[in-house]
Symmetry: C2
Subunit: 335 residues, 2 copies
């Protein structure tokens, strides 16, 4: 109930703050971000919480700067995600979770709602900011999705400096992997909702002053995943989707279920074909995913700047900023 | 007009053959396959045409055998695609097109409409039958999509014997790659519709006697693609999708556009949310894809065994068989 109220509150915040009973002017531009859905570890030190809050705040500010200057939603979501990737405290870029082989493999995608162009990379091991490489795939290749070795070859062709695998590894992620592997050996696998703090994935959706929607998502995936495993984040229509006039979605959760249910595309299809509000559609899709074993959440933005943040996990790291509203970050820890 | 008539004819064949004016009993089971959409090379020797016809015929027979014995649609589509992969004359498995590096990288996926489970692999270089590995991902891993090296590591864990890259290479594909690279050098890129014979991709959709739908797709992708490029085939909702009571789709075409437009999922969303017939929905989606630069086609089957085979390219290799109808293969060459 509390969570539900918090969500509704989130959506209505602009109106409540303004203290009016009639509909408020839509924002000229809007940006929302997430830092994953799941459960924050109980042992998270106050300094770590502050570092997460700081990363989200800086991501919002970086994206807002683009949008306030009349920049595109595509540039804004890329910028916001890139900041989160570099923070070292979220499951993307530096600080990503480790796979069964003990190293990070990263996935990212972005999509421009104005022309439905998209770029994505998956299973890259030496790219500090996968979202920036995804943008280069969109802008400088004939392709949408490049994976593994071939994606890194493309990075070199584009002049991207590759980084050693050790760049991504943090002590926290090493400990989490060890716990997951120990749990496996005891035939007591750690539940997905406990194995990582938020399911990991960072993402952003934005509406710019030209009315263009965009979405971006980046992740290290699941702790202890098989080498080569790709989740929903880099899959257009699963973890990432944007279409002008309809919606922009970035999802986070048990990626396998989000892929099978084409989560992001389904939200937009309900809005497009059934005239559902993006909020109602996103709520319903998150419910369906949960029933199918796919805990998680999403940020879903409509063409008027209405945001929904449904999630079925304990919490979701999130934030938003608009032409009408200063940056606001939410990091809840349940004790 | 001719093509359009052929398509309609395809859909209505059962009724026409039966020569009745009232609706015919739906088939107990149904299987359709495709061997790609595009343009068959004008220089294709009669023996090569016969080899393609033979491959499609054998794929239909293998799938039909499963279905006639009461087997599942999932087993049937896997079997049919596996036969096409091994044929050496279609763009999947042995005989796949070659990437810019001069070697084959293969993608495949299948989906079980009864539970929306899916398995997929992408960018594998040493797996003779990627569709069988996709099935193993579905059955024996926690994941949906494995790519590159990690997918091959999984294959070894499953006891799959890897094959050398040379296994996939045929003289025809080597010549096609050389032509594509030469065209690139002359800054006169070969048009997508000419660079390969059918865009390549093989696929199957089926309805079994228990009413379960399934879909499978496998491909070598595009001639001269960047190393690591993944197309729509292994992406749930893009090239492959199945959902009981709604539809099963396997697509083939310019994969990048099919990904951006979530082609297969969109057909099913239109059927699910707008009550469009799968045939009308598939027609409309293929039109939209074409307008966006995405030439290609798809086979789309509804829950009653009604098949649509819309395509925007010159031709599409295809075949069908059901409990009411013997195998029928269509290989058209325009002179």
């Amino acid at each position: 109930m509390l969570r539900r109220a918090a969500q509704l509150c989130m959506v209505c915040l602009g109106v409540l703050v303004a203290g009016r009973t009639f509909a408020q002017e839509p924002p000229k531009w809007f940006l929302a971000i997430h830092g994953g859905a799941g459960r924050l570890p109980r042992d998270l030190a106050p300094a770590e919480v502050a570092a997460i809050q700081d990363a989200l705040q800086r991501a919002l500010e970086a994206g807002a700067q683009v949008l306030a200057a009349g920049g595109s939603s595509l540039d804004a979501v890329q910028r916001a995600v890139s900041v989160m990737e570099s923070s070292g405290v979220l499951n993307a870029g530096r600080g990503a979770v480790l796979n069964h082989g003990g190293f990070a493999e990263l996935d990212a995608a972005l999509m421009d709602g104005s022309n439905r162009k998209a770029g994505a990379v998956a299973a890259v091991r030496h790219v500090a900011n996968p979202i920036d490489l995804a943008r280069q795939v969109m802008d400088h290749s004939k392709h949408v999705l490049l994976v593994g070795e071939g994606a890194e070859q493309f990075a070199r062709e584009q002049g991207v400096k590759l980084v050693p695998g050790a760049y991504f590894v943090t002590d926290r992620r090493r400990r989490e992997l060890q716990r997951a592997i120990d749990g496996e050996k005891k035939a007591k696998p750690v539940a997905a909702s406990q194995s990582v703090y938020p399911h990991g994935t960072v993402g952003a959706v934005a509406l710019d002053s030209q009315g263009n929607l965009a979405a971006a998502t980046s992740t290290g995936g699941l702790t202890n995943k098989h080498v080569g495993r790709v989740g929903d984040s880099p899959i257009v229509g699963a973890g990432t989707y944007a279409e002008n006039g309809v919606c922009a979605v970035s999802a986070t959760g048990v990626g396998e279920v989000f892929i099978r249910y084409t989560a992001a595309a389904d939200v937009c299809a309900r809005a497009r074909y059934r005239n559902e509000s993006v909020g109602a559609a996103a709520d319903e899709v998150i419910r369906e995913l949960k029933a199918a074993g796919g805990e998680g959440g999403m940020i879903a933005l409509d063409a008027s700047g209405n945001l929904a943040i449904p999630y079925s996990s304990e919490t979701m790291l999130r934030g938003q900023v608009s032409s009408l509203q200063p940056p606001e970050v939410v990091v809840e820890i349940r004790k």
